[in-house]
């Protein structure tokens, strides 16, 4: 039965076929991994300016607040306890910002500061959120999400 003859035709929005722009796998990977250079850059490269800018602002602000709270950026030192590698994995998710802060000696952390734990948590979570943003950019680039 066609929609013209059905008693309750589907709304216009349900009938609309949305054609998603997709990129090949290599390009999608390159676009999504550009989020390591700047959080949200993958979205911006695909023309999603607002989403990319808001991601960059939220993740970048979280990183700056974490640093200013004297949080610690974990390093990939295998001689330390293995649990710290999880912290390193989380921290490094923010990409270039991590390396810049490490080279500027900003993430050494001050354990005697009252906000040390909060700051370290901010730094972990902003890295993990950037992983989420990178996967979101990949899904958009492959046409899995509008």
């Amino acid at each position: 039965m066609s929609h013209e003859n059905s008693p309750n035709p589907a709304p216009e929005s349900e009938n609309k076929i949305v054609k998603l722009r997709t990129f090949n796998l290599g390009l999608a990977l390159a676009i999504s991994f550009s989020g390591f250079i700047l959080p949200g850059l993958g979205h911006i490269l695909m023309g999603r300016w607002v989403r990319g800018a808001m991601l960059a602002l939220a993740i970048g602000l979280m990183f700056l607040i974490g640093i200013s709270m004297q949080g610690e950026l974990y390093v990939s030192d295998l001689s330390q306890t293995p649990l710290r590698l999880f912290g390193f994995f989380a921290d490094v998710g923010v990409g270039l910002l991590y390396w810049l802060a490490e080279h500027a000696k900003l993430g050494s952390g001050n354990m005697s500061a009252r906000t040390y734990d909060y700051g370290t948590t901010y730094l972990w979570v902003c890295g993990l959120l950037n992983y989420l943003a990178i996967m979101d950019a990949f899904d958009i680039a492959r046409g899995r999400k509008p």
Partner: protein, 58 residues
């Protein structure tokens, strides 16, 4: 920066809920509604758990 526990929680909830809303929903309206839901959940759960722990002696 010397934020209190609640201020740190508030800013954390705001920024995380922004990213959650942007990455998990598609339309701006859905993103906003989900972001508000996550933000209120963060604050609500923290306050409830805080009061539940209040009478604990250790």
């Amino acid at each position: 920066m010397n934020l209190s526990h609640f201020e740190a929680l508030f800013v954390f909830a705001f920024l995380v809920s922004t990213v959650f809303g942007l990455t998990t929903k598609t339309t701006p309206k859905e993103q906003f509604r989900y972001g508000v839901f996550v933000f209120c959940s963060f604050l609500g759960v923290a306050i409830v758990v805080g009061w539940l722990m209040y009478p604990l002696p250790w």
